[in-house]
Amino acid sequence: MTPKMSTNWTLAVRQRLAKNFPPDQVLPDKQPSFVRSAVYLFGALTIASFALIIVTGTVLAIFGPQWWHTDAIGHFFNSLHLWSVEAFFFCMVIHLWGMFYLGAWRDGRGRTWVMGALAFVVSIGTAFTGYLSQSNFDSQWIAVSAKDAINAVGVGAFFNVLNFGQMYGFHILVLPVILIAVVVLHIVLVRLRGVVRPYPVKGEARVPYTAGMTQEQYYRGVRMIPYDLLREVVLSGAVVLVVVLLFAGIFSSPDDKPLTMQSVAQSDPVGFVTVSLSELAGNSVIAQYGPPYNNTTGSSQSFGPFSPQQLAGVGIPIDTAAVYVTDPLKTVQNPAVATALRTFTAASAAQQMTWENNYATALGKADGSLDAAGHLKVADGDYGPLPVMFGALLDIARSGALDGLLLTDGRFYQTDYTKPLLFLSEEALPNRAEQLNLLGSQWGMMNETGAYPGQAWLWLYTFWYQVPFGPFNGPNADIAVLVLMGILTLVLVFLPYIPGLRRLPEFLGVYRLIWREHYREVRATMAADGEHVETPSPSP
């Protein structure tokens, strides 16, 4: 008879905890003998790596996102954080492979698999926002590469990868909280239900699984061996710590300086003015991008007739002529510049276009040399007020003032770098990424600056961009890849509930190698009992 639960809330919670979390299952000192395989170690190694990520990430958060760029100790902690992440994914992927080949979701363990797979998916998002929060060139490049896919599915205005403040918040709070909750649930389910039994040998006598059975009942007849959970966790932590310390000490971590409007204007004045002119003329990539920045359709993607990007509308309105040219020039305290701006604004659209085309042609032939006033030298021609306007714009960009002007919106604190990053994405960032050999054929999403491994766990996402046919190689590639990966992710998470697919491990047969000692014991026992012995095989 089930004891009656108390009406005292505290007592009721205590009774429920005692009933649902028996100490010998939460902290076991025995485990089934078939668990003696190195494949089972990678769960604890993943948890140990995760703990190290939290510790190093907390230290980095305490000192702020700029600390590691300027302080040797900060840089070392960033290296520890980076290599902890690499260790975490390394161990988690092996753990996931192992549990897949063992069909670990059998016997009522579907939810355990779902939580583990969700942890993998949330981890990818957490790591991705971490790469965006590095505040160096790598984060700039990943942000502008990723924005198209995020915009294509219509969430670019809500989840703006160019907004450092938002990505940092997601990385250090929102996603870690979700990840910790999912990981804890996964561990609790593993501890309460225990690991799944091996696939049965034909003729093997075993207690059939029934929903709600205890571990005592589930493992009845299974040989148990001593096990020290805490020792395994502590030793795993020590192993991961040593490996991460070694990698951080030997290989450190990359930190290429980010590009700024100032650095681009100083190093490539022709490129800077040419892009600025296209922003004024409205023929730049961003000016014709479409949602969430404006109502054009240049980079708008659709899945058949359905375009979530168009449906989401303009959430981050950007008038490129005003944002990048005329508004910054209005701040210049120079009568000649004010007059030039008035002349341009008062001119007809046809006149403006003539000046812009003439100036663009002249810029194409410019060698980048500057005159005594610091303005670009171009051949004589009919450019109207443009040389004065772009001379002044180049001045404020080279001084560094434009970087500030593009961030300010009348308030003091700024963390949204959407405007300067969109400008830099036109030419400067792709050019620099090409110099650093980052492009590849998937635009470098999983690459890291220097000779470092990047987000290798994104390989299946980026792989599709390399398929040279179908929707993956056209103007709608981003939405096609994200929709496909969304479906594949759902398949991974809900694998235990998909008929046919959930029996795949039986047919692959890798479990026979992992549990070979167990099957040897079972065969020996059955032979001793005089029973007919067959190797495990897929059910009909």
């Binding site: 049965p200 034909k202 148990m224 980052l438 590849g440 390989w459 029996r503």
Partner: protein, 62 residues
């Protein structure tokens, strides 16, 4: 600066390829290499109910 490996439609940086290759190698070793055995203790309770059927169909719901 990372170099690339290009085979067929696959293009990947050498560092990323090394990481993925190491994962496969470590997984293969984890499957192949035995762990030392502990001291066995047979579970004390007898088997009071036996079956030969596979338990795959008895998957718990979400």
């Amino acid at each position: 600066m990372a170099q690339y490996v290009h085979f067929g439609i696959f293009l990947i940086t050498v560092p990323n390829l090394i990481v993925i290759g190491l994962m496969l190698l470590v997984f293969a070793l984890a499957v192949a290499l035995p762990l030392p055995q502990g001291h066995p203790e047979r579970h004390p309770e007898p088997i009071d109910q036996v079956s030969n059927q596979h338990s795959e169909d008895q998957e718990g719901g979400l």
